[in-house]
């Protein structure tokens, strides 16, 4: 795959928003991969945590916003605890989710869940799945 980059693409409004919402300096990441190495959920992710940071660094925010990973992240904060540069990646994924939510895009379509199962689901799980407002 080929990626053309330029300044305003790297610093697109989406990227700036994510940086603002998360309060994280993604540019201090030097790609050691500690976050991915320590993350308990990478097995279910399509993009590992270090790559989330990398893609934001080089302006590929769209790919990150479309990823499964940001919804798989449980905000356990292991990545943050381990990151040698002090980047709170959980807050970054939270910001990425917030970005969707603020635009009223639901990650989960409730009506697609069979009625029977819906009754079984704990309310907290539903709220969690919908809002992922866990950070």
């Amino acid at each position: 795959m080929q990626l053309v980059i330029w300044r305003s693409k790297i610093h697109s409004p989406e990227v700036e928003k994510i940086i603002e919402l998360s309060g994280q300096n993604v540019y201090s990441c030097y790609q050691c991969g500690m976050c991915t190495a320590s993350c308990p959920s990478t097995g279910n992710m399509d993009i590992p945590p270090n790559m989330i940071v990398r893609l934001i660094q080089i302006g590929m925010i769209g790919k990150v916003l479309d990823s499964r990973s940001i919804w798989v992240c449980t905000s356990c904060f292991t990545c943050f605890a381990e990151c040698p540069k002090g980047i709170d990646i959980a807050s970054l994924t939270e910001a990425l989710r917030l970005y969707h939510l603020r635009r009223n895009i639901d990650h989960l379509n409730l009506s697609s869940i069979p009625h029977g199962e819906l009754l079984e689901l704990p309310v907290i799980a539903m709220v969690g799945a919908l809002r992922k407002f866990t950070a």
Binding site: Q2, V4, I5, R7
Partner: protein, 648 residues
């Protein structure tokens, strides 16, 4: 009576492979060996004590230490033996570590056998060894420093401060070297004007320093402690005693040429002062391009303007000879020409610069006054791509080595670019970031985290013109993406290479160059400031690319070495040199030709060895058809005996 053999385990280095017990048993059977002993670290104090004790108690006539390479501890063991009265030249090293234990780890039995053979043959050598006395020669208390960059300046100052005279030889019109060309210096961002210029002035004015600018070493003879150096003072065509450095001549001169100091980004005249802070601040005429010099008449505008009547147009070049006891070589580095890199435009794309060119552009005193602009159209570049490892870490095409300084100066340049152009974006293509100095990693962090420099991990395949942009096709191997950037400017961190002409200089000094043409040290780890030619030391980037911190430390180290070398007042030389058996010598002169040190000459039909010059390399003994020249304690008969013991 008899010989002692001392077998070192070197921790597990030797004992891990070689069966020491078996070796001791076998060695005890060698004829003439009366004492065998093994120990975990022979070089340690207790190890040496064992050797001394055995020599004394058993009255040993010679010893073999079976251990590591003689370049590491031969001297240690010789000294130990000498302290208890054994002639140090009756101490031999059998190198069973590098020659046997290390290369044969997978075959311990054979390694043990080989170690035995090495020891056995060394005992044979010992059989033929004679006690020798070291040679003693008076020294001249004066040091020559070649190269006036920061390394040469620092070394000269340190030697002079120790009260020893210095002759500082610089081939350019001014001292200062690369550092004088830099904008600001990582990691502290001091400007060279603030930290270098004062040093340039102090060295030039030091009462014990004689500065020979615009001069080159032409011939070197003699040896450690007693070198004779012929220096060629190049013609300046200007009387430097009169020139006051006012620069009016430069204003008057109509001839414009690309300035070497400004890396071609600005012009100089045919009469010029190298740069405004030059030391000495004197003008020289470029005789190849001066109208008056070329045609023998005409122009002369400079002379008309010169208020000091300093411009003579007369060839004032001359040769001078200096006696010096020690020499410090500090010839520094250059960077590869961008024309070498076809993939990056072969030097034809105007907005592709080398790192050194970009330094000049960033320099407040540089050709653009510190403004970053495109050479092609003068516009301020908004997107700048920096490419590291251009010609470095590329064993297939260029240099296998890492140029060491580029990671840091590229980060510095990207950061300074961001300061110069706040809205601009800097990208750095790198393979690894090597920031291994005090404050360096923090500096890289600053470039990334605070200045938002985008680091892309990978090389760049191609740079080419696309409209008024430079299309950069690279890769980011972290994301696995091919990266394309339409840049306004590209800066290449071209590989550092040794200064041109260092090869000829090394030949004159009889010192060696290692891989890549960098000056070779006597031992990379233990004698990094010395060369194998005694009395010749090395300092700065001439040995290998270095930043200023390391250059200055090494220069002070080399100065200390030179001072220590001269302060005894005499030099002691190894007596392991060539001797001629005049009864056999036919005076054919083969030895004279073979000798790299001009140490052996045929005089009155017989070869004659100059003891002050012979380095004991043995070339003459190999060239001699009759065996008349032999190396002391490396006699042909000894060598044959050794070989026989190995194959027999």
């Amino acid at each position: 009576m008899g010989y002692g053999v001392f077998i070192c385990h070197c921790g597990q280095n030797i004992a891990g492979t070689i069966d020491i017990e078996k070796l001791v048993r076998k060695v005890s059977g060698i004829r003439g060996v009366t004492h065998v002993e093994d120990y975990i670290f022979m070089c340690s104090d207790p190890g040496q004590e064992r050797i001394k004790k055995a020599i004394k108690e058993k009255n040993l006539e010679g010893i073999v230490v079976a251990a590591c390479s003689p370049s590491l501890h031969e001297e240690t063991f010789r000294k130990a033996a000498e302290s208890v009265g054994l002639n140090p030249y009756l101490v031999e090293i059998a190198n069973i570590r590098e020659w046997s234990a290390w290369p044969h780890q997978a075959e311990p039995e054979e390694a043990t056998m080989k170690a035995f053979k090495i020891i056995e043959s060394t005992v044979e050598k010992l059989n033929g060894d004679k006690p020798l006395e070291p040679l003693r020669l008076e020294v001249v208390r004066r040091v020559m420093v070649i190269g006036g960059g920061i390394a040469g300046i620092q070394a000269a100052l340190d030697v002079a401060e120790a009260g020893i005279e210095v002759i500082l030889v610089e081939r350019s019109p001014s001292i200062g070297g690369r550092m004088a060309q830099l904008s600001e210096t990582f990691p502290t961002l001091d400007c060279p004007q603030c930290i270098l210029t004062p040093k340039m002035t102090s060295v030039a004015h030091h009462p014990l320093v004689k500065l020979l600018a615009y001069s080159e070493v032409e011939e070197v003879s003699g040896s450690a402690g007693n070198f004779k150096v012929k220096v060629r003072r190049k013609p300046t065509y200007v009387d430097w005693n009169k020139c006051v450095g006012c620069g009016l001549c430069m204003e008057a001169c109509p001839v414009e040429l690309p300035s070497e100091f400004e890396m071609g980004l600005a012009h100089r005249k045919a009469i010029y002062i190298q740069f405004p802070q030059a030391v000495p601040n004197k003008a020289v005429i470029d005789s190849e391009n001066c109208i008056r010099m070329k045609y023998g008449r005409g122009c002369g505008l400079c002379a008309q303007k010169c208020p000091a009547n300093a411009i003579t147009f007369e060839d004032n070049g001359k040769a001078e000879e200096y006696d010096v006891g020690a020499i410090i070589v500090a010839t520094g580095l250059e960077v590869m020409d961008k024309a070498n890199f076809a993939e990056y435009g072969a030097g034809e794309l105007k907005d592709v610069l080398t790192g050194l060119e970009f330094e000049r552009m960033l320099a407040p005193s540089g050709p653009t006054g510190g403004k970053v602009v495109r050479p092609s159209d003068g516009r301020v570049p908004k997107e700048v791509v920096f490419i590291q490892c251009v010609g470095s870490r590329d064993p297939e095409n260029w240099n296998p080595y890492c140029s060491k300084i580029c990671c840091m100066y590229t980060a510095k340049q990207a950061l300074l670019y961001k300061h110069a152009v706040p809205g601009g974006q800097a990208y750095i293509f790198y393979i690894d970031i090597r920031a291994d100095g005090k404050g360096y990693e923090e500096f890289i962090h600053r470039a990334m985290a605070e200045e938002g420099v985008i680091y892309l991990r990978g090389r760049v395949g191609r740079v080419y013109q696309e409209g008024d942009k430079l299309r950069v096709e690279g890769v980011d191997t972290i994301s696995g993406l091919k990266i394309v950037i339409d840049a306004d400017m590209v800066v290449l961190a071209t590989a550092a290479v040794p200064s041109s002409g260092v090869e000829e200089l090394a030949k004159k000094l009889r010192i060696q160059l290692g891989e890549g043409g960098w000056l070779k040290e006597a031992h990379l780890k233990l004698r990094p400031l010395e060369t194998l030619t005694s009395g010749v030391f090395i300092a700065g980037a001439a040995q290998y690319p270095k930043d200023i911190t390391d250059t200055v430390s090494q220069a002070s180290g080399a100065a200390a070495k030179a001072v220590a070398f001269l302060s005894k007042g005499y030099v002691v030389r190894e007596p392991l040199i060539a001797v001629v058996n005049e009864d056999i010598c036919s005076g054919c002169g083969n030895c004279e030709e073979a000798c790299s040190y001009q140490a052996i000459k045929v005089v009155d039909g017989k070869a004659n060895v100059d003891e002050s010059l012979c380095e004991g390399c043995g070339s003459c003994t190999a060239a001699c058809p009759s065996g008349a020249v032999q190396l002391k304690n490396y006699d042909k008969r000894q060598i044959i005996k050794m070989v026989e013991s190995i194959v027999g």
